[in-house]
Symmetry: C2
Subunit: 230 residues, 2 copies
């Protein structure tokens, strides 16, 4: 899977959350691009990147209930009508589009009666409408609230959530997760420091055992279902 | 009333609808500003303008279900947290905010099942949330659909709708409209060409007669209500 990550942030170097996400990127399969870092938008190049991607991630802090201006500039420039739906051709059809949004408020602020007075889904509705117009598939948003308050354990969990959001098959089912971990765990363990290798291998063997148990359970369930269908 | 009109459009001179609206501006009380025409945003100047305005109009074509990037850039730059709600002070509180939006699609496209797949209110929800955050009053949006297809009569009506949207007291009740026309009609008639002055004066006298009739009706209604309350 090829994932294109478009980051909109006017001061990327000053953003601890964006720097964290950058360091958390999966090792392969990612085309990462910082929109504000470009002098001018190369429309052909951007359109080519979009054509080549299987999944497009729009990543930004929520400014005034929307993406920063640089993402809108990119939309207004790159997503020409002709490109997105001209002549009834939809080059982006069936590609997935996901949003990774950071906010300075807790999640509960984004509900009726909450401090922000609008849900994230409502704030992102214009982007969802673009997705719909392009016949792309909208992924449930990955919201990162108050990154600065996360503890180390939460940050480590975020690395995995983020990597899965960028590369795991959708929908986010148990099977999709299991497959993703089965593919990634060996590489993750290989990259562990020498003194943690043993622990890593223990985790891998537990994971394998649990996966085998799950497969067996699934087989049993299928058998029961078959019999009750008779 | 002081009205600040902020126009976001990357190619203003090429836009027949924006040129038309510019020519339709009321003669007085309007501070008109083209956001894309500025080299850099002067934050202090913009904030001063906002403080001085009674009504703020955001005017733009709908690009990808939102305002063009220049308006978002203006928001991200001018509407600092400190300015809008810092220290629990709300300098924009109770000012009115209205959106004048032009679209290339008919109004019916912006409903469930319509071609655009999103209502204008849903597309403008992020701006409405800004308005709410600033404790401003959101005005019902003035949508101009498919300007190029309007005939002369519809265009003349648009001039009045637009002028009223910029300067008429809210809510848009019969009384507000009547007051607005009573104030403006004499000036409008004065500016008519000589050969249309007689027609203009006839309209003015009919308007006065109808207004007097309405006032009398209102008095009668009030009397009836008073008696039935006894």
């Amino acid at each position: 899977m090829k994932t294109l990550v478009l980051v909109a942030h006017p001061h990327l170097a000053d953003s601890s959350s964006q720097q964290f996400l950058k360091e958390s990127l999966p090792a392969t399969g990612i085309d990462w691009e910082w929109l504000d870092g470009q002098q001018a938008i190369d429309v052909d190049r951007e359109q080519t990147k979009l054509r080549q991607a299987d999944r497009v991630i729009l990543q930004f802090p929520l400014y005034w209930f929307a993406a920063p201006a640089s993402l809108k500039q990119w939309e207004d420039t790159v997503l020409t009508r002709k490109f997105v739906y001209g002549d009834h051709r939809y080059p982006l059809a069936d590609k997935e589009l996901g949003v990774v949004v950071t906010t300075g408020m807790p999640g509960k602020a984004f509900q009726r009666g909450g401090a922000e007075g609008i849900t994230l889904d409502a704030a992102l509705a214009p982007l969802a409408a673009v997705t719909q117009r392009a016949k792309m598939t909208w992924l449930p948003t990955l919201a990162i609230h108050q990154f600065g308050y996360l503890n180390e354990s939460e940050k480590l969990q975020l690395v995995i959530r983020y990597q899965r959001y960028l590369t795991q098959a959708q929908p986010d089912s148990l099977t999709s997760r299991q497959t993703w971990f089965a593919e990634r765990l060996p590489g993750m363990i290989d990259r562990l420091p020498a003194d943690q290798q043993a622990k890593g291998k223990l985790i891998a063997s537990v994971f394998e055992q649990k996966s085998a148990d799950l497969d067996q359970l699934a087989d049993t369930l299928a058998l029961i279902k078959e019999q009750s269908d008779d």
